[in-house]
């Protein structure tokens, strides 16, 4: 009988229980309520039961020992001291370790582990595989009778599927019993057949049936290249679909009904396929956020600080590969906050704060992005110290007297920047800000910073919701084509009617008013260093594409509107010069390349 089917379920469920147990542990630490111990107990009890059914001895034994320790605590017979709590933390960690080991095929009890009742290392373990006759009435009962007979001859270690499920509707009369003992095969077979309604019985060596080192696939991680290939194909299909549709429309003469119908159907199916692939790739950020609370607690303790991590917006979904990629940047930011942002409890008390620091990991949706924030209520970043250091390193002009949040971030993210002079209490290696920034940019996103001295710091990661395919507005600037992500285009208006205003914005740009909004006017031809075409144009003039990002708008002056269509987004190598304004590139249906405008940068 194939057990690997159940193995996947075992690991998924066990890991879920372990995660819930972690949450309970943290809660116990906070309020010492015995009710949380109950949750712990139930988790270990369930894992123990499942492990027994899977014949994962090591897991079963560790869970059992943990249960034994937990029981008196649960019943209030033993008080919840710091020592006991620490032991519980250790115990859950050990349980997790044995589950992980089991996932790698190490299911048997290691001989050196001192366990309450360790079974002898099995040399004569066998599996009896039984199939009952097809029309057997009450197969569950028949199986029980078979089991009773087997028990009279051998020691039964486990059954597949578990005996408790035999009475269920779905039991199909095929089952296996793992046994130990010396009874002869002939005797076993005869006894089993004697139970009646047995179609087939086979006795095999347990080693031949053991699941091969189960590389049980975690349900979250998927081979990145495979997923990328899938999305690429889906994306190309969408583009090709559009080409097909346009080609058909361009054909002279009466349209062929059959061809039209088939094309419509194909187009519809491709859209549906693309949507499925996109959605299959989306996962809630919870998948990544989950691992952090425990980590923060442990790290804070190491540093002698008291910090609690709370999370918000766990259900916000992100593309899978993005999810995989943000784990590390978030870890860097959290560690930074713990290392440098958070003060020691005594220091916090001295300035009137609570001894325990608050760290918040937050996810939210914006128009076209997912916004993830790491916020702390620590000491904030010392602007002056950074400014002085940056000037000393020649990164900023001496004349700059203050650093705005944006400038501050640019300095911190500069690969050459370092706060480590000789000895500084801030000991700012600013470790990871440049790494985080690079990673986030590579994902097509942005990093933002807000900080207030004495109050705290917020790092904001702004990431695109989906990769690969985006609706874009194709525009012509000079002789080149550019793509502007449609999600960030508010509207397009005739440039002839632009309402220039007399004032200039903070960056000394001209401003215009469009529908009562005052915004900067950006001449893309100038920005992108394109040929400035004569004012008169066959297309009938220029346009203003009003775009928005992070609440700020701008009017982009373009020479012509080409189309609004789906494009396959390809990343840009950040090393290439001049990519400052662009978040990616695409190849259009006819082979023309177009750069994708990074709206956030432009506004």
């Amino acid at each position: 009988m194939d057990t690997s089917r159940y193995a996947a379920l075992f690991f998924t469920e066990s890991r879920e229980h372990l995660a819930a147990m972690d949450t309970a542990l943290l809660a116990i630490e906070q309020d010492r309520q015995v009710a949380h111990v109950d949750t712990l107990f139930r988790g270990m009890h369930t894992i123990k039961g499942m492990a027994a059914a899977m014949a994962f001895e090591a897991v079963e034994q560790v869970a059992h020992a943990l249960e034994a320790r937990c029981d008196p605590l649960r019943r209030g017979e033993v008080p919840l001291t710091d020592q006991e709590i620490a032991a519980l933390f250790d115990g859950v960690d050990r349980l997790r370790a044995t589950v992980d080991a089991a996932a790698n095929g190490q299911t048997a009890l290691a001989p050196t582990v001192a366990a309450p009742s360790s079974p002898p290392s099995p040399t004569n373990r066998r599996v009896i595989e039984i199939r009952l006759v097809a029309d057997c009435p009450l197969p569950g009962v028949r199986a029980v009778l078979v089991l009773a007979r087997v028990r009279s001859l051998l020691t039964v270690r486990s059954t597949q599927p578990p005996e408790a499920t035999w009475a269920e509707e779905k039991f199909d009369g095929a089952f296996a019993i793992t046994v130990e003992g010396d009874a002869e095969e002939r005797v076993i077979v005869e006894s089993v057949r004697g139970a009646g309604d047995v179609a087939r019985v086979e006795v095999v060596d347990a080693r031949d049936r053991e699941a091969a080192p189960t590389q049980v696939a975690r349900t979250v991680r998927i081979d990145a290249s495979r997923l990328d290939a899938l999305l690429d194909l889906a994306g190309e299909l969408v583009i090709t679909r559009d080409r097909l549709v346009r080609a058909l429309e361009a054909v002279d003469g009466p349209p062929d009904r059959q061809v039209q119908r088939a094309t419509r159907e194909t187009a519809r199916l491709i859209s549906a396929l693309h949507t499925e692939v996109l959605e299959a790739r989306m996962l809630p950020v919870r998948e990544v956020f989950d691992r952090f609370p425990r980590l923060v607690r442990d790290t804070a303790r190491e540093l002698g600080k008291e910090v609690m991590l709370s999370t918000e917006g766990q259900e916000i979904a992100l593309d899978r590969s993005l999810l995989d990629a943000i784990g590390e940047p978030l870890l860097h930011l959290l560690r930074n906050a713990l290392d440098h942002g958070m003060e020691l409890p005594d220091d916090r008390e001295r300035v009137g704060k609570l001894r325990s620091g608050q760290l918040v990991l937050r996810a939210a949706r914006d128009r076209a992005s997912v916004v993830i924030q790491v916020q702390d209520d620590g000491r904030g970043i010392d602007r002056d110290a950074v400014r002085t250091r940056a000037a000393a390193q020649g990164l900023i002009p001496d004349s700059m007297t203050t650093l705005s949040d944006e400038a501050l971030l640019n300095v911190l993210a500069h690969p050459g920047f370092s706060m480590a002079t000789h000895v500084s209490t801030l000991s700012g290696r600013g470790v990871g800000v440049d790494v985080v920034n690079t990673r986030v940019r590579a994902l097509g996103g942005h990093l933002e910073l807000e900080t207030l001295a004495g109050a705290g710091t917020v790092f904001t990661l702004r990431l695109p919701v989906t990769l690969a395919i985006a609706r874009a507005v194709l525009v012509r600037v000079g002789t080149s084509l550019y793509a502007i992500p449609a999600a960030q285009v508010v509207e397009v208006v005739d440039a002839e009617q632009r309402d220039l205003s007399p004032s200039r914005d903070a960056m000394q740009r001209e401003t215009v008013t469009v529908r009562d909004h005052l915004m900067p006017l950006v001449d893309l031809a100038v920005l992108f260093d394109e040929e400035i075409l004569p004012a008169t144009d066959a297309d009938g003039g220029q346009y203003l594409a009003v775009v928005e990002s992070a609440g700020r708008r701008a009017a982009l002056l373009v020479d012509g509107l080409v189309a609004q269509q789906d494009i396959v987004v390809k990343g840009l190598d950040p090393v290439r010069g001049g990519s400052h304004w662009f978040s990616g590139a695409t190849i259009l249906g006819d082979g023309t390349p177009a750069l994708i405008v990074d709206v956030h940068r432009v506004v």
């Binding site: 009450l138 029980v144 009475a167």
Partner: protein, 121 residues
């Protein structure tokens, strides 16, 4: 000497049917019980070679009767007569001490196969 059987079922119809099958196979029907209480009493008095037991009966059901009889005589040979879809109950009956089961509607051949298994064990 032919083997003796005690038939326990609250329906005359069922008792008659089972009785016919068994007597044609050479069994002597030494007793009939309508309730679990009667089943236990008659077992103690008659010590039959075999017992057929229905699950649902008034005044103590079949499973409890099996339990009591088996406690009294661990070697008791009891065959459960069950309707389809009573798997969990039959499993309980086995765990209480019954040795095998047959389902209604009865097929004579199956009944006899089961009986022989029970007697052989």
């Amino acid at each position: 000497m032919s083997r003796t059987v005690l038939i326990c079922d609250d329906a005359i119809f069922m008792r008659t049917m089972v009785g016919d099958i068994l007597s044609q196979a050479g069994f002597e029907i030494v007793g009939e019980a309508e309730t679990g209480v009667q089943a236990v009493e008659q077992y103690k008095a008659l010590r039959p070679d075999l017992v057929t037991m229905d699950i649902v009966m008034p005044e103590m059901g079949g499973i409890d009767a099996v339990r009591e009889i088996t406690q009294h005589d661990p070697a008791a040979r009891i065959l459960m007569c069950s309707a389809m879809g009573q798997q969990a109950l039959v499993v309980e009956a086995i765990q209480a001490g019954a040795k095998d089961f047959v389902v209604k509607p009865f097929q004579p051949s199956r009944v006899l196969e089961a009986v022989n298994r029970v007697l052989a064990a």
